[in-house]
Amino acid sequence: MKSNKYSITIDYEACIGCGLCNEIAPKIFTSDEQMKSKIIDNALIDEELLLKAAEECASGAIIIINNETGEKIWPKDD
């Protein structure tokens, strides 16, 4: 999924469907038939909430890349 600034990907195998991302950022994340995380089409991205959801995801299933710089915002590689 692409917003202007970010590409957001869900690592589907890693996601445990706990729903935390949807709780933190309900305008960005929803659930699919398997109760796993899904990014809402044309979601309005609140950067702060997006990063908080990714940081708190216990399975590290949310991957964020900055489109402008190509930088991996989360998870960080260091």
């Binding site: 445990i16 469907g17 708190e56 216990a58 260091d78």
Partner: protein
Amino acid sequence: MLTHYKYLIIGGGIAGTTAAETIRQYDKDGTLVILSNESHRLYSRIVLSKPEFYENAGAPRTLFLRKPEWYPVNNIDLSCDETVIGLNTKEKRISLASGKYIEYDKLLLAIGVQPLPLPGLESLEAKNILYLHNLDQAKEIQKHIIDSKIVLVVGGGFIAIEFCDLLTKLKREVISVIASSWYWRSTFDEISSRFIENALKKNGIEIYTESLVKEIIGKSRIEEVNICNIKTGKQTTISCSTIIAAIGTRCDLDWVKESGIKCNKGILTNEYMETNMSDVWAAGDCAEYFDLICDRHIKLANWTNARTHGKIAGMNMVGRRSSYRKTTFYSTEKLGLSICFVGDTSPLGENKKTISRGSYEHGAYTELRVVNDRIVGATMINMSNELNSLVSLIENGVLIGNHLKEIGNPNFDLKFINKHEKQ
């Protein structure tokens, strides 16, 4: 650390930390302490079951879920390496192994569970067995498996299967030993278990069912293991240098019981996560909570439940009455299988019937648990695309009596029942 706190939380895992965070949303100033018996701030237990953790010597970036400064910024005292040894609910006071006492106004027990030790072994042998329960144990496993070609995994449940999967991904030779005749027997029926056994074999894992570890041979390190078949008495000696045991968990509840708090397998709570003692709540893996959907007490240890418990307990601790009403589920992909369970998957009672949907031959199978024409739970192999539909049927108590014939056919769409039947 103070000697009196408004909120005292025992346990620094996801249940305790979520409770603290929830309390802080409504009460910014009430003094709050989290006591942890570990040396670490909140970390992800899920990451400990991933191959990445064991491939790299360092901790992955996704391991810690809170920065060290999160605690002081939120006015939360975190006290690590603390062991609670007593609770006096009349005096509203706990005692610590260090000799200190702390008084509380409101107490949350989020003390987790411990792995069951492998029985019947001498203490010296037992010392060499590894368990996965916390970060320190995971680091120990990390150290051992670096130079282990063959790893023996004892147990047939969730953590054991996770380990079989991740060790295979790490290209280790894996031997699986279970005391039962089929895998994950506490939750799955024989057909579901056959999928798991077949997947283990396909992944090159050698299997010993109805067997126990009888003896460990080796001086400073494990060299060989003697496995004994319970039924035939046949003994087999195999070479291996690491044993990981995952045969279940238990709650250490001695001091909790002594305080007068009612316990069964876990600490008994109602749907508000309240114990029988006023101003004492329980949450997470240690809680045996009243499940409004299953209409009975349930003890199901998983990350999602623990987080939700923490949230509910936190709400109630600040006086915002809130109950736990959620269809519990667990979903994972291991050994090339999608494995799910949802709702009440406890052993069958008098009123509970089962309906098979799909089959082993079909490559996808669900065992539905039905009480009074309503689905109360299900276990699913390779049918996770129906998880949401099943959650909906369970949560809404939809009657399925008119569809008992069709429901066994995996091509029959469960959404049809959701649309057409009464709750």
